[in-house]
């Protein structure tokens, strides 16, 4: 509790994260290592898991169901591209899984680390950031799988991967904000874990994962558009599968907006923080 004049910048999330970058780095590394800890294949699972999933999706949807991915932006679907459905589905799932994993872990973040609240002064926001970075890591390995898969099967390189960070940035900030809120609500209300589980399953079907946005009846399309995942998933597919440049200026605006939201949440969290040790 050092007496310091806290300026506006001084109290921002970015400043705090920069100050605690070592902790963020260490915790993230540990979290990623711990996921497959004790298993024989270790970190290889983070590659194997999405690879197997991708193969299964491709097989089931293109061979068993024989469905075609009808995308509005292409007038005529290339029927020879058997990979299409699996890849589209997989691209959607990558984004969705990143969100779902982060959200599901969030309510227990602080509850599991009570020491950090009661025994020391710990920057609790890092827990949420680490949580999201952890999911982001697994999303990235999945992206690599898609690239390799496409190269092996189609012989094409995905040249637009570089836009993904920009496309995902708004989403990442948004999940961090949600994760911070959930981590605190999780302390107050034990039911949060259940609520989040239900919410993510609903979110899965409301997001254009198993279908393109164009497949939604026009009457209900507003629901899809309310969902912040929709735009991200569509842009991701655009870049990865259609090889089209998504609307980047829009992403930039969203990124700034969501960073702002994230920062506001962080400041609110700092206000609540002193009360936490009473609630735990």
């Amino acid at each position: 509790m050092q007496i310091k004049t806290r300026t506006w910048m001084n109290a921002s999330l970015v400043t705090s994260l920069w100050k605690h970058k070592n902790i963020v780095w260490q915790l993230t590394k540990r979290d990623i290592q711990n996921r497959y800890k004790g298993s024989k294949l270790g970190l290889a699972w983070s590659v194997l898991n999405p690879l197997i999933m991708l193969c299964i999706y491709t097989y089931v949807f293109s061979q068993v169901f024989q469905v075609k991915w009808t995308n509005a932006s292409i007038a005529e679907t290339n029927s020879t591209d058997i990979l299409d459905f699996g890849l589209n589905l997989f691209a959607g799932l990558i984004v969705f899984n990143m969100v779902a994993e982060s959200l599901q872990r969030s309510p227990s973040l602080i509850v599991r680390n009570q020491n950090f609240v009661k025994k020391i002064i710990f920057p609790l926001e890092t827990l949420s950031v680490v949580n999201v970075l952890n999911s982001l890591f697994h999303a990235c390995t999945s992206i690599m799988i898609i690239m390799i898969f496409k190269f092996v099967v189609n012989g094409t390189l995905i040249s637009l991967v570089w836009v993904l960070p920009l496309v995902w940035l708004p989403l990442i900030f948004l999940i961090i904000a949600c994760s911070m809120i959930l981590s605190i609500v999780g302390v107050l209300l034990k039911d949060t874990v259940q609520l989040v589980t239900v919410f993510t399953s609903v979110l899965m079907y409301l997001s254009p994962i198993f279908y393109p946005t164009s497949a939604v009846p026009v009457n209900f399309r507003w629901i899809t558009h309310l969902n912040p995942l929709t735009g991200i998933i569509e842009s991701t597919r655009q870049a990865l599968i259609l090889n089209e440049l998504p609307n980047l200026s829009q992403s930039c605006v969203y990124a700034v907006l969501s960073l702002l939201i994230c920062d506001i949440v962080y400041r609110a969290m700092n206000r609540i923080k002193p009360y936490l040790s009473d609630w735990l």
């Binding site: 509790m1 605690h20 540990r30 020491n115 002064i121 009360y275």
Partner: protein, 472 residues
């Protein structure tokens, strides 16, 4: 560092807990709180104001549940006070209960990095200190293991080692040292003693001896309220008086009865005993006195045997420093075969009997005016007694001892009766005079004495009692 600016200022601190009967009441309070109160209040802490200047050390005493830990948590900033405010100036390191803030999934080294960076050290600063931290903790290869595999003692070792190396301006320690072993506690107490001279210390312990030796100011809490805040000695004395009054006599003990009968038997044979041997040192005849209860104690449980611990080289962490011009090559203590202990036992000396302490120094570079000395310390690092060769040998000064020779200092004395516990002998060799000397070699914990039985009824040591009489 020792300036008089306040480093801890706390004003009117209070902590209120709302106690709800069940969760439904919580919801009711949230929704209908404006109409009716659905909880009853519990004040864990009330009206605490204190100011501590930089360089002072504060002890907090009180029974369990009196609010000590709550106060510490508020001082460290992990808990928000309901009323009042705290201001700390400087970096504050805290050891609240066991293993504070360690992540059990991290290895020791990782936890060091995380803990230290939370306390505000940069990566390069930690890298500079990591060796010191690891050697202070001294838990061997366990630093590379996950902390969940640690014993509680190891966790505290590591936590304290980090704290000791971060240059905190304020150190807060909450009874954590209770689980450390003797060697480590010695080391910690030495560190704390050194630390408190220059920095601010807040210390909670139920060990009042430790508190008396460490703290200048003591705060006495009872049921969350301040009973007294002031000079350590004053407060501790009042506290002890009050507490013992509370325990009220229920243990006016059997021991006393035992003692009485022993004394009764003893008085008759006193006569014979006081004729005992005398021996000469130089020209002075010194009469040798023995405690009049000595024989009766021999076979009783009050025999004050001090076992000389076999030192396990692996676990021992002697702290030793010096110029290296000479080093202490051996320190031994021998009990003398006396009238009462017929055989000199190699591994036991007895309180109240004559012992001989030998300190052997090997000189590796010409040593001028050597002084060899020792200090016997108790578990809390408190020096009970000690002596050196200066006064008896200063007439020979200046002398110089040649390289490669060995010098041996012998101290022959009556070992005082010691309360049960662990004792350590620190040996040192210096060069110069009593007032002004350079330490050539200082060896902490050169010998460890373990005492399991003791006739001492009060105080840090017992004296040779010549007679006790109760005139009726």
């Amino acid at each position: 560092m020792t300036n008089t600016s306040p480093s801890i200022v706390a004003e009117n601190l209070g902590k209120r807990y709302k106690v709800f009967q069940n969760d439904a009441y919580k919801v009711k309070q949230l929704l209908l709180g404006f109409r009716k109160q659905y909880y009853h209040e519990y004040w864990a802490l009330k009206n605490i104001s204190l100011e501590l200047k930089s360089g002072q050390s504060l002890g907090i005493i009180g029974r369990n549940g009196s609010g000590k830990s709550t106060l510490l948590q508020i001082l460290c900033g992990t808990m928000r006070p309901t009323t009042g405010s705290v201001n700390l100036t400087g970096r504050c390191g805290a050891l609240l209960e066991l293993g504070s803030g360690f992540d059990p999934e991290f290895t020791g080294v990782e936890n060091i990095y995380m803990n230290a960076s939370l306390l505000g050290l940069s990566k390069s600063e930690i890298q500079d200190r990591i060796e010191n931290i690891i050697s202070f903790a001294d838990i061997g290869d366990f630093v590379f293991e996950k902390t969940k595999k640690y014993s509680s003692g190891m966790v505290v070792r590591l936590a304290f080692a980090v704290l000791a190396n971060i240059d905190a301006d304020i150190l807060v320690i909450d009874e954590a040292l209770a689980v450390g072993d003797f060697y480590f506690n010695q080391k910690c107490m030495r560190y704390i003693q050194r630390y408190r001279r220059e920095h601010t210390l807040v210390f909670v312990s139920h060990d009042l001896t430790a508190m008396a030796s460490v703290c200048d100011r003591v705060l006495w809490l009872e049921n969350g309220c301040m009973v007294q805040f002031g000079d350590a000695k004053e407060v501790l004395e009042r506290y002890v008086n009050r507490e013992s009054a509370r325990h009220n006599q229920c243990s006016y003990d059997l021991e006393m009865n035992d003692n009485k009968s022993l004394i009764a038997n003893e008085v008759n044979s006193m006569e014979d005993r006081s004729k005992i041997a005398s021996y000469t040192a130089g020209d002075t005849a010194i009469k040798e006195y023995y405690d009049f209860r000595a024989t009766s104690r021999l076979d009783s449980k009050y025999r004050n045997d001090l076992e000389i611990c076999k030192l396990d080289q692996r676990i021992i962490d002697r702290e030793s420093y010096g110029t290296g011009d000479a080093y202490i090559s051996s320190v031994t203590i021998q009990g003398e075969a006396s009238l009462f202990t017929e055989v000199a036992n190699a591994s036991v000396v007895s309180g109240g009997s004559k012992v001989r302490l030998l300190i052997e120094v090997t000189v590796s570079k010409i040593l001028v005016d050597p002084i060899v000395g020792f200090i016997l310390k108790n578990e809390m690092g408190l020096a009970l007694f000690g002596d050196n060769t200066y006064n008896t040998h200063k007439h020979y000064h200046p002398i110089s001892v040649l390289t490669g020779t060995r010098i041996r200092a012998e101290f022959e004395f009556i070992m005082p009766f010691l309360p049960t516990g662990c004792y350590s002998v620190t040996a040192s060799v210096a060069s110069g005079t009593q007032e002004e000397h350079a330490i050539i070699h200082w060896l902490n914990d050169a010998l460890i004495l373990q005492c399991n039985n003791s006739p001492v009824s009060a105080g840090l040591a017992g004296v040779t009692m010549l007679a006790i009489d109760l005139k009726l």
